[in-house]
Every structure is written in C-alpha cells, then in structure tokens.
C-alpha cells in the first residue's frame, strides 16, 4: 500500500501532476491556489521540468498551450477571476485539440469576488469555459485524495480525447490538509510512450505547412468539419460519466451536491439516517458530462424532494438538476456564497426546514 502522507490540497495537486509526468508549469499568482505554483517552482527542477511564472494569466495559459502542443505533459492552475482570463487559451486549445490539463481552485465571485472558497464557477466550467461551444471533461473532487487521483488521471483523459480537461476544486479543499496516498511516479519509459501516441500531431519536428491539428483556425468548411469531429467525440463521453449514489436504496430525501458541498452533505445524510430519516445523496463526480440519467431515473413515487447544496448564490448546478428532473419533484436549495463557508450544521438546518415541509 502507498504511504499515507498528510498534505495540503494544493500541494497534493502539484505532486500528483508531477507523478503523472507533468514537466512544465506556467501560472500567475492568485489566492487560494498559490501553493500549486510555489510547490512546482521547487519540485519541477528536481525532475528535469520547467516552471515559469508568467507575466499574466493570458501569457501563462498560452505557454501551457505551447508546451502541451509538443506532446509533453504540462499544467497550469488559477482561481476563478484568473480562470476567466484563461478563456481564450482554453478555447484555442479546444480548437487545436490540445490535451491541456488545468485546475481551478474556486473562490468567491463574480469579479474579484473574495479570496475565500466558493463554488461559483460551475456554469462557466461545465458549459462555456471559452467561446465557440466546445466541451470538456470536468472532474470535481470532494477530498484531497480525489484531487490527487483526478489530476493524475486527467492526463490520460486529455490525451485520449486530444481535448482540454479541467479539475474543478475550491479553496476549502485547496487549503485544507488531509491524509492522502500518492500514486507512483510515472517512469520515463511510460512518459515516452504517452508522447509517442501524440507524435503525429505534436508540433515538434514537423516542417512548416504540416497539417498537424495543433493549430487553430481553418478556411472554407474546415472549421465546420473540426466542429463535427469534436461533437462526435463529445458523444462518446456517456461511458465517462461518474456519479456516487450514497444511501440511495430507499432514500426519500435526496441531496444533490458536488465537491466540498458533497462531503458536507454526506455527513448530514448520515446524521439524518441516525434520526430515522431516509436521506441519500447523488454526487456528480464528473460535472461534465453530467449524470442526467441518474436523476431522470429516480423513483419519483418514493422521492419527496431534492436538496441542492452549493456554495453559490444563485445556485448553478440547479440548471442541470432542473433539466434532469423536469419538475417531477420539488427542489430545495441550501446555499452560501461569496466566500462564506457551508458547515454540517448549516446544511442540516437548511435541510430540516424542507424535510419538515415534505415528510
């Protein structure tokens, strides 16, 4: 078994990326994710990698675009208002089908918002991380361990699809420390094999004019053809949908939550069960693609209602819930926002108001 170490979320994310083979990081400082670049600045030179503190977010994301287009594993991270500045670069990578991996450690918004944690970038992350209607797999960890596992895996998904992958976490998980087991360091041979798969697309070594897909923009119907290819690829993602159903077998009250809100809801579900209330939780682990069918296929004769728990006002995942539920049961919201943290007690209190009404 791997060694259990006690790590801060941000540092664990950085170490997981290095172990997955990340050898280039560019980023620009912003709270609450500064320990990712700080860790990378020290760690990457130890493994022959390169760390660059960009002069801005725009520069950093374009460096990531450049690095990832050569077939090496690269990463960047930022937080909320910084991630907004990534939009152009992410969209270009989606257009050029670059397997970029990046992390958003969410804080309060909109605008400069608050430096404290929030979950206010859900719609941006899942629906439009840039112009042009591209889609991405977005992974939403609910523990430091999942932050590690998802960053480690994100490269495989990005390279398989030749598409950006986002790990959407938040300032609670970024700043808290928890025990984690770290995955093994990928060997040089394994990384060479990853690069080899990318060889016919990577920009390195190709003469000018080569039709590698690693460039955006097309003439004639070229762009439409690229859109059609990308859309076909997005349709293969049903197999990638991941969802946790917690104590759902006989549940009458269903919590719907992702990330930090999900781990809090899970604790509240256990407390409610101890009181004899049949509660359960559905946690989207991939928030894009979203597990619509898990919600659509609920037994609405049994379910009395859904409690949407988010650190965002107004609620954002609510859009996906409404789309899946189609009004078949009431949805109640328990929300905080702008850097104010949810606690077990607050979720319990908000949930009880609803439970008293419907049970």
């Amino acid at each position: 078994m791997a060694e259990r170490v006690f790590m801060k979320g941000t540092e664990a994310i950085a170490e997981a990326a290095v172990r997955a083979g990340c050898r280039f990081f560019a980023g620009y400082p912003i709270t609450p994710q500064n320990e990712i670049p700080e860790y990378m600045a020290r760690r990457l030179p130890e493994v022959g990698g390169t760390f660059v503190q960009g002069e801005s977010e725009v520069a950093s994301v374009n460096m990531l675009y450049g690095a990832a287009s050569t077939g090496i594993r690269a990463m960047s991270s930022s937080s909320s208002c910084g991630i907004s500045l990534y939009s152009e670069g992410v969209s270009y990578c989606a257009s050029a089908r670059i397997p970029m991996v990046y992390v958003n450690v969410q804080r309060g918004g909109p605008g400069i918002g608050a430096i404290q944690p929030a979950q206010q970038d859900y719609l941006q992350a899942t629906k439009a991380s840039g112009n042009g209607g591209f889609r991405m797999i977005v992974l939403a960890p609910d523990s430091v361990q999942e932050c590690v596992d998802m960053v480690y895996e994100a490269y495989d998904l990005a390279e398989r699809d030749q598409n950006p992958v986002l790990v959407l976490t938040d300032g609670v998980m970024g700043t808290m420390m928890e025990p984690v087991e770290l995955p093994p360091m990928k060997t040089d041979e394994e990384l060479a094999a990853c690069r080899a798969k990318f060889a016919d697309r990577a920009i390195v070594g190709h003469p000018l004019g080569h039709q590698a897909a690693c460039r955006p923009g097309s003439v004639g119907d070229g762009q439409e053809q690229e859109n059609i290819k990308a859309a076909a690829m997005y349709k293969t993602w049903d197999k990638d949908i991941r969802v946790e159903e917690f104590m759902m077998d006989d549940a009458e009250i269903v919590f719907a939550a992702y990330g930090i809100s999900a781990r809090i809801s899970r604790a509240v579900v256990r407390e409610l069960r101890a009181q004899g209330i049949k509660a359960g939780m559905i946690r989207p682990i991939t928030i894009s693609p979203f597990p619509y069918d898990t919600f659509k296929n609920l037994d609405f004769d049994r379910i009395k209602g859904i409690i949407d728990v988010e650190m965002s006002i107004p609620a954002q995942m609510r859009w996906d819930l409404d789309y899946a539920i189609q009004g078949k049961c009431p949805i109640h919201e328990v929300l905080r926002s702008g850097g104010q943290l949810l606690t077990n007690d607050q979720v319990m209190k908000g949930a009880m108001e609803f439970i008293k009404e419907v049970l």
């Binding site: 259990r4 170490v5 006690f6 430096i115 404290q116 609670v172 700043t175 808290m176 420390m177 928890e178 025990p179 930090i260 781990r263 809090i264 809801s265 899970r266 604790a267 509240v268 256990r270 943290l341 949810l342 606690t343 077990n344 007690d345 607050q346």
Partner: protein
Amino acid sequence: MERNLMIAGFGGQGVMTMGKLLAEATSQATDLNVTFFPSYGAAMRGGTANCYVVISDDPIGAPVSYSLEDLVVMNGPSLHKFLPNLKPGGTLFVNSTIVTDPIDRDDIKVIKAPVTQMAIDIKNERALNVIMLGVYVGATDAVPEEVIVKGIEHKFAHKPKLIEPNVEAFKMGLEIGRQQK
C-alpha cells in the same frame, strides 16, 4: 465519533503549528480521518490567526465548524470572538497568562493553563503552543500521548536537539490537562 477543535490566538503564538502538529501526528500514527483547515482571512500583523482540526472515525464533512466541541484561546480577542461558537457542554482551553477577562458562560467546561508564563519559566518561549497541546490531549484524550510524542520527533527530525525540550513542554501540559480533566 467526530471531535472538532478550533485553536485561535495572535499570529506568532504557534496556533497553526499546534493544529498542524495534532492533525499530522494523528494522520501518521492512527487510521483516523483528520482534517486541518487554516483561516488567515485578510489578517493584519497582530490580528487573530486560527485553525480547525477535525478528528473522526467516519469520513469528515466540513473541515470547519461553528459548533465546536473544543476551543483553545491563546489571547483575549479570540475568547470574545469565538466563545459563542462553543457548544453547550464543550470545553474551553484558556491561556490564562494573557486571557484574564471573565468567561461569561456556565454551560461549558473551562480548563486554564498559564502557557505563556510556563514557556518563559522553562526558557523555551516558543513552546507555549506545545504546552497547550499537552493540556488539550491530557484533558480530552483526543489521541494517545505517544501519537504527539512521535509527531514532535518527526517534526524536529532535522533539529534533533529541539526534540527533548518540546517533549518535556508537551508533558508539562499533559499533567495540567489531566489534573483538570
């Protein structure tokens, strides 16, 4: 069972280190779930610094709580700011060298230890947090004392001459905690 603790004081009193030492030592020496969550806020020099430690058999929900089982206050402002967050029946740990204001609640247990003065007396002024950690562990048995001793040995592995004085400071606190249990 879940036990949540908040430690609060001035920046520089070793509040974060105390929380981290407890949490990391617990993580290393037990199979328990444990979280450490620092709260700096938009802190100023001399302002309050605080952190939360949750230790539990079950997976931990929020790493932050405003309904605390245990609260450690190292300075006066922390007492006034965070005492309302202590549950009825909870335990308040007071650095009685510095916190001299009356404690206007009778539904909690209060454990006092003059840790700042004790640290000065043993000529190890920075060890007030380790003494307080001893008081906390002695009074609560939140983790076995060996867990913290091992944690101190690990933390100071690169400065071995600091291990003994810190273990001694911890044990001094442990005695006080046990006496007031």
